[in-house]
């Protein structure tokens, strides 16, 4: 087993542990931070899988923007910042565990049955090629996704905007 | 008849079918306040429809009554090979005429006798839409077209019962809360018939797929008589067709919607329901179920005969227990349609002819009975026979017609009702060779006993309603005897009853050849 393999296993372990922490921690801020950790681990994994550009996007978009957005959301909804026992819906826990475990079981069973090839770690970057393909073959979805973003932006602003006149009227 | 040649190639029939619908749409556009205009247009279009149907009848070649005539075939839904295929033969012609004629009378009656809440616009347009559905069913020669027309009658009738129906609140067994009669009846009517026809549609599709993907009734008959449909498939298809038609007829034990619907419906609604809507089911048997699935018809015939016999006895006995005038007449329909079905089940030319004249006669007579009883219910504000009595004294004209019609209804020879009953029994005595004679003869005896019971309840009804001294509560009241509108609507039916009774060739002349051909083709005898 090569060193890089061991590293990868370690990375994956880290990924899982931080992922588990995201959903189990009782502190909202911690959860967000663990998500950052998870994403960062993922980014490293992507680099190992010779997807530097994707890793970059992940870091930029998620860690740079989304997480900030999350934190912002946490603040603005005035979630308790410290540890909070009420964060989880205890009643659901048993079923949630069952469900997630069975999904995991099914997926793993099938994945192990199907895929047993190896992956080449760190072959080299392909960013230029990626850019070319993205803007030729996939230009159409590329255009479209801009609409998704635009829609999300416009709609998000509209919804989130405080709208005094309306609110007052409706809340009477 | 060359002067009417422009009505050839299906145009005449098309006019008969769609003129009422077009008028109905036209009426929608007229403001509600122009009541007289609405009524006149309705009447006009109904009369024109009737006249055109008469012209069609004149053009009809009675020497060739077995052939479908005056029809056309135009592509309609090409993707499923369904066509606008229409035409009439001796079997459908009398029913078509009956339908156009009764519609005219119903409209005349409605001129002055709109039930609450008045709204002439609504009522008139519903009658016209109903007429399109009825006429259409009788001329349709394509299963899908037939189905559409067959179902077209549901909506208008549903609303007629639901809006203009009886508003008394009553308890219904099995339901916790009391419910207005009209609401219960209308939804029951609707659900029952839809239940039947939903399955019927599946049957049509089954035929379509086994029968070279055609919906054309003549083509399917050709296939069916050549034995294209056999085995479990045919059994299933006949079962669902039976369900669809039997609900409409209605055959025991699928009849329970009928007394409620009739009782609750406004007068015109009951008339049209009894006179024509019920015929759609039995017509369906004759037009579709028997010739397309002759083998199955033979297999099912004893069951149908037994059910008919039960229906006859059951309906009559139920009548004996009624206190509600309209409900009694409604149950009598169960019995009378039992005779029609008994005739059909014999699968002989006599039996089916009997069924045809039975349908027409029942249409006329029971239609008239509902006219009269509805009118009486309107005058007395009650249908409880316990409270009525001495009607002959209070409303002599109405009473006389009621008495006459009751006599006709009990199958008095010389009046229209006789032929259907007698001939049905005649047919049932010697059913198609190969059928179980014992069953049919027992059914015939049951039917014969049914005639006595029929006489019993009708006379009993007459005794309670028409005869005797008037009850105190009516003596000082101002009660209106039949007015001119009513008489104009009723007298033609009285005359027709006598005419057909004395000269049944009016019906048999058209049906006989067609029925003989049908029987010969389907059952070889």
């Amino acid at each position: 087993m090569e060193a890089i393999d061991i590293f990868s296993y370690f990375l994956l372990l880290l990924l899982l542990l931080s992922g588990i922490k995201v959903v189990t921690t009782s502190n909202v801020i911690h959860a967000a931070i663990f998500l950052v950790f998870t994403l960062a681990t993922t980014a490293i994994l992507f680099i190992l899988l010779s997807a530097e550009f994707v890793a970059l996007v992940l870091v930029l978009v998620y860690i740079g923007a989304v997480i900030v957005l999350f934190l912002f959301g946490v603040m603005i909804t005035r979630a308790p910042l410290g540890p909070n026992a009420e964060l989880d819906n205890d009643q659901n826990k048993l079923f949630a565990t069952l469900i997630s475990l069975s999904i995991f079981g099914i997926f793993t069973y099938i994945l192990l049955q199907t895929f047993d090839s190896t992956v080449v770690i760190s072959e080299g970057t392909s960013t230029k090629l990626l850019g070319e393909i993205l803007l030729s073959r996939f230009v159409f979805p590329f255009e479209l996704v801009s609409f998704v973003l635009l829609g999300a932006l416009i709609g998000g602003i509209t919804l989130a905007r405080k709208d005094n006149a309306l609110m007052d009227e409706d809340q009477i | 008849m060359s002067s009417f040649s422009f009505l050839d190639s299906g145009l005449g029939l098309t006019v008969v079918v769609f003129l009422p619908l077009i008028s109905a749409i036209f009426i929608f556009l007229i403001p509600k306040k122009q009541e007289m205009l609405i009524k006149l247009i309705t009447l006009g279009s109904a009369i024109v429809t009737f006249l055109v149907s008469l012209v069609v009848a004149l053009q009809f070649d009675f020497n060739d009554a077995a052939e479908l005539q005056l029809g056309t075939k135009v592509s309609w839904i090409s993707s499923i090979n369904s066509n606008y295929e229409i035409g009439i033969d001796g079997i459908s012609l009398p029913l078509l005429l009956l339908s156009t004629f009764i519609s005219v009378l119903a409209i005349i009656y409605s001129f002055e006798h709109l039930p609450e809440p008045k709204n002439a616009k609504g009522m008139m347009s519903l009658i016209l839409i109903l007429e399109t559905g009825m006429n259409g069913t009788f001329v349709a020669l394509d299963l899908i077209l037939f189905f559409v027309f067959f179902e077209l009658v549901l909506l208008p009738m549903y609303f007629m019962i639901g809006i203009w129906g009886d508003k008394t609140v009553r308890s219904v067994s099995g339901l916790k809360n009391d419910i207005e009669t009209r609401l219960y009846a209308s939804i029951k009517f609707f659900v029952f018939t839809l239940f039947g026809s939903a399955f019927m549609l599946l049957g049509f599709l089954g035929l379509y797929f086994r029968g070279n993907k055609t919906f054309s009734i003549p083509e399917l008959i050709e296939l069916g008589t050549n034995g294209a449909f056999t085995g479990t498939f045919a059994t299933l298809v006949f079962a669902v067709l039976f369900l669809g038609f039997a609900v409409k007829v209605p055959m025991w034990p699928l009849h329970t919607w009928l007394p409620d619907a009739h009782t609750a419906a406004p007068t015109v609604g009951s008339v049209l329901l009894a006179a024509i809507l019920l015929k759609l089911g039995s017509y369906g048997f004759v037009r579709i179920a028997l010739p397309i699935l002759p083998e199955q018809a033979v297999a099912w015939a004893p069951a149908i005969a037994i059910l008919s016999a039960i229906g006859i006895i059951y309906g009559s006995l139920a009548c004996l227990a009624q206190t509600d005038l309209k409900r009694l007449i409604a149950f009598s329909s169960v019995g009378h349609m039992g005779f029609v079905m008994l005739g059909i089940s014999s699968l002989t030319s006599i039996g089916i002819n009997a069924a045809m004249i039975g349908m027409v006669a029942h249409g006329i007579i029971t239609g008239l009975l509902f006219f009269v009883s509805g009118s009486m219910a309107h005058t007395y504000h009650t249908r409880d026979m316990g409270r009525l009595g001495g009607n002959m004294k209070l409303l002599p004209k109405t009473g006389a017609i009621l008495a006459f019609t009751a006599m006709a209804s009990l199958g008095l020879p010389g009046l229209a009702g006789f032929w259907g009953e007698f001939m049905a029994l005649l047919g049932a005595y010697n059913p198609l060779p190969g059928l179980n004679v014992t069953i049919f003869r027992s059914s015939m005896v049951a039917g014969a006993i049914g005639t006595v019971l029929t006489a019993g309840y009708l006379l009993w009804m007459l005794q309670r309603v028409n005869l005797g001294e008037p009850k105190e509560e009516w003596i000082d009241q101002e009660l209106h005897d039949a007015d001119n509108y009513e008489l104009v609507a009723w007298i033609p039916l009285v005359i027709l009853t006598v005419l057909i009774g004395v000269f049944p060739k009016l019906i048999f002349g058209a049906t006989n050849d067609a029925v003989i051909a049908l029987v010969a083709k389907a059952f070889g005898g």
Binding site: L16, V22, A31, T38, F70, F107, L112, V119, L129 | -
Partner: protein, 101 residues
């Protein structure tokens, strides 16, 4: 290395995310869990891309799109949560049961 550990890890992450959305009360936390799920899909795509040595980089491109969409979803999600919070003074999704039946 074998692709299996990566895929299993992705599946595990997916399940963890599922657990999260089922258990968390705070809507923002639920959104976080969704990000986990989406991330697991990303890992899948990239890993498959590597496994297949896909010269067209279909998997990578797909994951880029997913990231973009995910960002948009977060934006929308937060906007909705914010709106909810305005009206209800809470972001706990389990308190939204106005339309229970």
């Amino acid at each position: 290395m074998s692709i299996q550990p990566i895929l299993i890890a992705a599946a595990a992450l997916f399940s963890i995310g599922i657990y999260g959305i089922l258990v968390r009360r705070n809507a923002v936390m639920v959104l976080l869990s969704i990000e986990l799920i989406l991330n697991s899909v990303n890992i899948n795509f990239v890993a498959f891309n590597a496994m297949l040595s896909d010269v067209f980089l279909n998997g990578q491109i797909f994951s880029i799109f997913i990231i973009t969409i995910a960002a948009a979803e977060v934006g929308i999600g937060l906007a909705i949560v914010l709106m909810l919070f305005r009206n209800r003074e809470t972001a706990n999704i389990n308190e939204f049961d106005l339309m229970k039946w």
